[in-house]
Amino acid sequence: MDATVTTPGSVGQKTWGGGNEPMSASYGKLMMWFFIVSDALTFSGFLAAYGFSRFKFIETWPLADEVFTHFPFLHGVTAPMYYVALMTFILIFSSVTMVLAVDAGHQMNKKKVTFYMFLTIIGGLIFVGSQAWEWKNFIKGEYGAVETKGGSLLQFVDNTGKRLSLAEVAQSLPKERETLTRNKGVWFMKESELPTYSVAEVQAGFAANPNILIRTEVIYHDTPANRADKTLQPGLQKAKHKKILTRAESEKMLANAHYVVEGANLVRNEYGSKLFADFFFFITGFHGFHVFSGVIINIIIFFNVLLGTYERRGSYEMVEKVGLYWHFVDLVWVFVFTVFYLV
């Protein structure tokens, strides 16, 4: 184990004989920096790909504050940003406790290192749990939507522009068919769960209530062309919000409906552009995996600290190295937070 930390004692050997410290950083620390550079470029690739897809579909991209609106114990309250802000604070704070543990390690203070490492692990676990809850809400969805044959996504609003859920729109019709499950099927036949409402039920409910309008994915800009657009419901359009169609236009669009979308999965999502959910799952998932593995590594180091491994070694540099990884995870989150929730 001694070989993992180079000590000042090794200075004076031949350059290529080992123990030499290029750029005055130990072997382990230098390798951690190398790893962080490559991992940073991996995340940059993902985020740049997200940017590419978003720019490509800039006019139909979902608006973050309509997607992430949940806060624990506040049911039915639209609270955009608050939950993710809390998550961000938790991660920043666990970064602070980590750097305090590193600092205590420099003073060879085992008790303090143990305490701060423990807090860091707790912070990491809370963050991963929060992310799971965020995913749950995202997957479950809130209002539901309808997809047309052409692949556009239609959402429902009332005549004041307030969002309506499928339950508020659809009418109950006699069921045409039920979900095929393996115990009802022949041999291995089964299918993914059918939506709560069929297209026909949504269309019937829409026809019965003249106050319902369709909201498209397309973002409204206050331009002369948009102001003159006869297909848009007057009085309901807001700049940088989604376009709302007139009743006549809504009927025309809904006639093309072929699929009811509830929540989000890798194929389609009720929030809008299909790629949005894919990137959300992939990037926050990859980040969450980093947090999770960071917690595991922190736990290992925590037990090593408890067992006095670094005390005997005379250096807490290993805490510093996992600290670098942990801060890197925080660093990535800062960018994920900006591109998924703020911009």
Partner: protein, 135 residues
């Protein structure tokens, strides 16, 4: 070791306070979305997004410099880590976002329509056949 082992707790708490303030400002701006910033464009992006990106860079700077303590490393290590990442990220963003914007414009303006492609293909086939018959 490159840096002396004195306690840094004062700086750590200062950076924590700074990161918290910046995040709070971002969240507040994200919730109220001031009209004046949201509807003013500069260099192809609205001012609010510029504010968000600049604050993000500020946070990233403090995380790397203070928490990861790259400010205490030798300048050669510091810049061999930071410079390649900055260069490659800027380069990647430049080529991808320009390309994406181009594709967006093609979709919007439909300068290439399928019937155009078909017509050109037919015309070329026709021309090719005539060419062959003369040869």
């Amino acid at each position: 070791m490159a840096h002396e082992h004195v306690s840094n707790t004062k700086r750590i708490w200062f950076v924590f306070a700074l990161l918290s303030v910046v995040t709070t400002v971002e969240v507040i701006l994200g919730i109220i979305k001031p009209e004046s910033l949201l509807h003013t464009n500069a260099l192809g992006m609205n001012l609010l997004n510029w504010v968000f990106y600049i604050l993000t860079i500020v946070k990233a700077y403090y995380i790397v410099w203070a928490f990861m303590h790259i400010e205490g490393e030798k300048a050669s290590l510091r810049w061999s880590v930071v410079a390649p990442v900055i260069f490659l990220v800027l380069y990647l963003l430049f080529i991808l976002l320009v390309e994406a914007n181009y594709i967006f414009e093609i979709f919007r303006d439909s300068t290439i329509k399928l019937y155009h492609v078909k017509r050109y293909a037919l015309a070329y086939l026709f021309y090719f056949c005539i060419h062959l018959s003369f040869a």
